[in-house]
Symmetry: C2
Subunit: 314 residues, 2 copies
């Protein structure tokens, strides 16, 4: 994370949003989106998922999209990988950051990758083993993500012990950083605080990322709780893209524009210009005219006299 | 506040919502709304505003609505009063709680009531003087509200000194409790925490209420910050009713269903059943079919296995 920012926001709409949308977004609009959002100051963009193309045709152009993103000066380029095969492709594409994701919930993990959580940890060890054999300058940062860590639509509540067990196992297996995800929007601020505090206590030197969905309206409230717990890395998506195909009317990731507005209003530097960010929505609208977008700041505008720079301490 | 709850939520949609809606909501739907929401467990409802009927015809039936609400066992009945005349009517109606509101912002107060904030404090003294002459069993609780305390659409930022000055003046003048309002949705969690902390430091024994609007999506995030600052009284409106007529697309008060869902999920007892609460939306839809309603829990439903009672400590 650059020392000119206090909090790193990461755009995940091109992955977590697009993976649920069957309409193929043309490559030139994906790359235009990346260019514009990077120009608005977003420092890190998850640009694709290295899943088999026959499973998610939306990512058929993953290599082209990464190539474009890598040419943008100063942008950290991330990609999701579900397994070793995906990791190989991510290394070939030379992304800066690889996001491995598994579910803490046994049922959710089995449904997604037909493996128990323990088997997924073993898969992850194969990924870090391959990483360790790469020359140092070709090793991407590996962020290991724990989906359904804050609740599961199959199992309901997830025990904090299960989250700690998987977090410790992923750290032990060689994750550079960890992400705790509220995949289905079950979390509340008290649970967020308790979970991040517990994992941080176990792993005091580990950088923790928060990945929240706004399904029940608590996304930004959960960010406040995570900030309290010392979290400084947040995923979000422009326009809140990322509704779940199994939950009609449910919203997706937390809205990037509102997240940036909140953080900057609190005096936390993100490096992002919220007004430029709002303009990038037009690219999504052009590529996905049917998708509903969320966003309060995009509708209401910024407050009169809004000047986040005046709040920044440095 | 009953000792069976940890946080008091107050419904303000019948006042703050309806005051901006020109369609007259039939009295029998207003009273049905109050009955149903009280049955869902909401302990306090602001049922009307005692403003001149020619200014806001929506409140022409205020006396009838209060009479209905007063017959509901256990419900605290509040009403807004802008001036002495309104206070006289509120006393005649025998409401439990009177909400006097003035703006901390000079421009906003002048635009609303053609008075400086200092003149409004003098008006408030006439109200408390009249209250003091009433027999003790006829005295309503008086909550003095500071509109635009967290930002103003005319003036932008409001100084914390101005908020403290008005808060101290209203306390000195005899307010039983104080409300700090983000009338136009400019607040962020850091400002909320700083403001409530400062007022509490000046007035350590004063009960403070938070009244937030969700105009820029930060409503529940601001609630988290206010909870941190020790606030236990929150206004909200069912379906988020209360958009501002001067800001198209801007949403209104924070959404009651999502607020209750968040608080209960955090283990804070509100006395409210969120699933019953969601059903009350049908009454608003019937009375105001054109009004857009907000609400994430109403769309997505509660999480699998949701059982807030299991979280309650007592």
């Amino acid at each position: 994370m650059s020392n000119k920012i206090d909090v790193e926001v990461r755009e995940v709409g091109l992955r977590d949003g697009l993976q649920n949308i069957s309409t193929f977004m043309p490559t030139e609009l994906k790359t235009a989106w990346i260019t514009a959002e990077a120009a608005a100051g977003v420092p890190n963009i998850e640009v694709c998922s290295f899943v088999p193309v026959k499973l998610i045709p939306q990512f058929a152009d993953a290599m082209d999209v990464v190539r474009h993103a890598r040419n943008i000066d100063g942008l950290a380029v991330s990609a999701l990988v579900p397994n070793l095969k995906g990791f190989e492709r991510a290394v070939e594409a030379a992304v800066d950051e690889v996001d491995f994701v598994m579910s803490v919930s046994e049922s959710h993990n089995k449904s997604n990758v037909r493996r128990s959580p323990e088997e997924s940890v073993e898969d992850f060890k194969r990924i870090t083993a391959m990483r360790n054999e790469l020359p140092p300058d070709r090793r991407p940062k590996i962020v290991a993500g724990m989906a359904t860590a804050l609740g599961c639509s199959f199992e309901g509540k997830i025990s904090l012990d299960a989250v700690r067990r998987i977090a410790n196992a992923l750290a032990e297996a060689g994750a550079d950083e960890l992400a705790i995800a509220d995949t289905v929007g079950y979390a509340d601020p008290a649970l967020v605080k308790a979970t991040f505090d517990a994992v941080r206590k176990d792993l005091p030197n580990m950088t923790l990322h928060a990945h929240f969905h706004d399904t029940r309206g608590l996304g930004l409230a959960n960010v406040v709780a995570a900030l309290e717990a010392g979290v400084r890395h947040f995923d979000a998506s422009l326009g809140g893209l990322g509704g779940c195909q199994f939950a009609p009317n449910a919203t997706g990731n937390i809205n990037m524009e509102d997240l940036v507005f909140m953080l900057e209003s609190m005096g936390l530097r993100t490096g992002v210009n919220v007004e430029k960010l709002v303009e990038v929505r037009d690219i999504i609208r052009k590529g996905l005219p049917e998708e509903p977008l969320t966003g309060a700041v995009a509708k209401a505008g910024v407050p009169k006299g809004y000047d986040p720079a005046s709040l920044h301490s440095a």
